[in-house]
Symmetry: C2
Subunit: 343 residues, 2 copies
């Protein structure tokens, strides 16, 4: 039943039926659109069609829905073996993660890729214990690349954001090459240690079950350092030019880690969901200009909406310091709905 808004209450306009059914209905559509995947609608898990791949380390991730294409859109050869979908902005439960772990275990163990949010971390830990009781070897990597805040509403320590996309790609390539569980885990930890991110919002997102914007952001202000759930950021500032915004995002990243030298960086400009590609490319030009002035060489790039926050307008910047191994793994073929290259 569609809920008709009360008069005078700002309506939430979304392409949904009942907010409570959004995630399962979207997964059903995804299953219809991607017959190459196997989607367990009961458990809300997106699997590679051929999972488990015998002898290969299995990679799973998962988290609250609303960040698409992350994570379900990154399931496929060269990236994840499975992804667990929680309700919007809500961690999946340990039973889902256990079921996904079992489903991708090809005998070489399973890596859990976890964004650093309290619920995700706790539930993945519990799932890892349950899997151990099943004699499945599990390792975990927790991403915590967001330099904006130390702790947040939903996190002890830094939040896991944009680096998660790059890590899923690079660790997926390492697993594809036949690396063992400790080898894949080492690569994954190296990616997280070498990456930093910072985001900003022009507008709030609206969680369907809440029916109203998560936060109020005046028409003439933007929020810098925002998380992917609309968690408060570092500060609100007057609306600024793309050039100024690029500086606000890149400077704290460069202050946190030395990105000069070596094999250059992968520069990732990510849209939060409602930002046109035209603006993201423009932002990428600004980010590139700052990096050039700072002596940081851009070796690879990614521009688009890959880790989103529903209908939030805004963007994030992620830099990943490359070495020749990470570069080669980034360039390896990948074939998922959200990222596809060289296959």
């Amino acid at each position: 039943m569609h809920h008709r808004p009360l008069p005078m209450e700002p309506a939430m306009k979304k392409l949904i039926n009942d907010a409570a059914d959004l995630v399962p209905e979207a997964l059903r559509g995804m299953a219809l659109a991607h017959p190459e995947l196997r989607i367990d609608l009961q458990n809300r898990i997106v699997f590679r069609g051929d999972a488990p791949v015998r002898g290969k380390v299995g990679l799973i991730s998962g988290g609250g829905s609303g960040h698409e294409p992350l994570h379900g859109g990154f399931v496929g050869p060269g990236m994840l073996d499975a992804a667990c979908a929680g309700e919007v902005f809500t961690s999946p439960v340990p039973d889902q993660m256990l079921e996904a772990t079992r489903g991708v275990d090809g005998g070489a163990g399973v890596l859990h890729i976890v964004k650093n949010y309290t619920g995700d971390v706790m539930n993945f830990e519990m799932a890892a214990e349950l899997a151990a009781a099943d004699d499945i070897e599990v390792a975990s990597v927790v991403t915590d690349d967001d330099v904006a805040v130390q702790d947040s509403l939903y996190t002890a320590g830094r939040r896991g954001v944009g680096v998660t996309v790059l890590l899923e790609k690079i660790a997926g390539a390492a697993a594809d090459e036949g690396r063992n569980l400790s080898g894949v885990t080492e690569i994954a930890q190296r990616v997280n240690a070498s990456g930093r991110s910072m985001g900003m919002a022009l507008t709030s997102c609206t969680v369907p079950a809440a029916g109203r914007p998560t936060f109020d952001l005046p028409d003439d202000q933007i929020e810098v350092g925002i998380g992917i759930h609309g968690e408060p950021g570092r500060r609100r500032v007057p609306a600024a030019s793309a050039r100024e915004v690029a500086e606000m995002l890149v400077e704290p990243i460069l202050a946190d880690l030395d990105f000069t030298g070596g094999d250059g960086v992968l520069a990732f400009v990510n849209g939060m969901g409602a930002t046109p590609l035209l603006e993201l490319y423009l932002m990428f030009a600004e980010v590139s200009g700052i990096l050039e002035k700072s002596g940081v060489r851009v070796a690879r790039s990614l521009v688009g909406s890959y880790i989103t926050s529903l209908d939030m307008a805004g963007c994030s910047v992620t830099l990943l310091k490359l070495d020749d191994e990470l570069l080669r793994l980034w360039d390896a073929p990948v074939n998922t709905p959200g990222l596809r290259r060289g296959v």
Copy 2:
């Protein structure tokens, strides 16, 4: 210089510097992010890096900016050889189109793919005449797949919308196979004749140079039959469920062309720019349900934001009736920033 909004005037929040520089600055970012392309910043043309391809029919398109990834994001092997970028929602000029035509002519002639908007049609016609004076053989196909309205603010006859994406892919594959200009043109015309689209908006877009929403849409209403520039649609209706919206879009399409039988259809659910992928997948499930009930078999699908209207929230549905040749050409490899498969 960033324009600070006057107090009390609703601010336009976008990731831009000066609205007048948006298109060239975005093209500069695109050039930096995609070294495999060659971008002529002076003429605002995105070329394949290896254009012209000797002996292959060249394919060009173009139109107003603001619909990204269309058209520049569809330049590359298996799709377009070049795309001309106009200002936001404004046709490129004949000189750009002529320059693009010259740049992709590999001796086998050039096909112009034109969306049916008065300015685009007129300017591409003029460019074709200029190219003929250069002894370049040019053919044209005009897309007009939008069943919403007969004429519109910017069109005599139906508007060219979603089918353009599918046509660029399929005609690109035909050119790759070595078909001659009349062969590629015949395929392109067949795609346009076999496809129909209809769109809707939850919100207006905001053109940067205008600084305010193109149209007012009350919080409790949606606009059905909208074009990709915010042109008025068929009617405004109260905000409705995704299921009801899917019916409003699919029924006029099915009433306009018989999509039953044959080799099934390619069903394309497109986001207008600000609509989360989660909602698009949900819409795809609804569209699939209606098609199944109507005896239309979905053979292939495409779900995502491919022909957008800046930051408009909403979606469109395109159906393309397939035969075995169109199906094979759709499945052929393609390698562009916006669509990549099997390469």
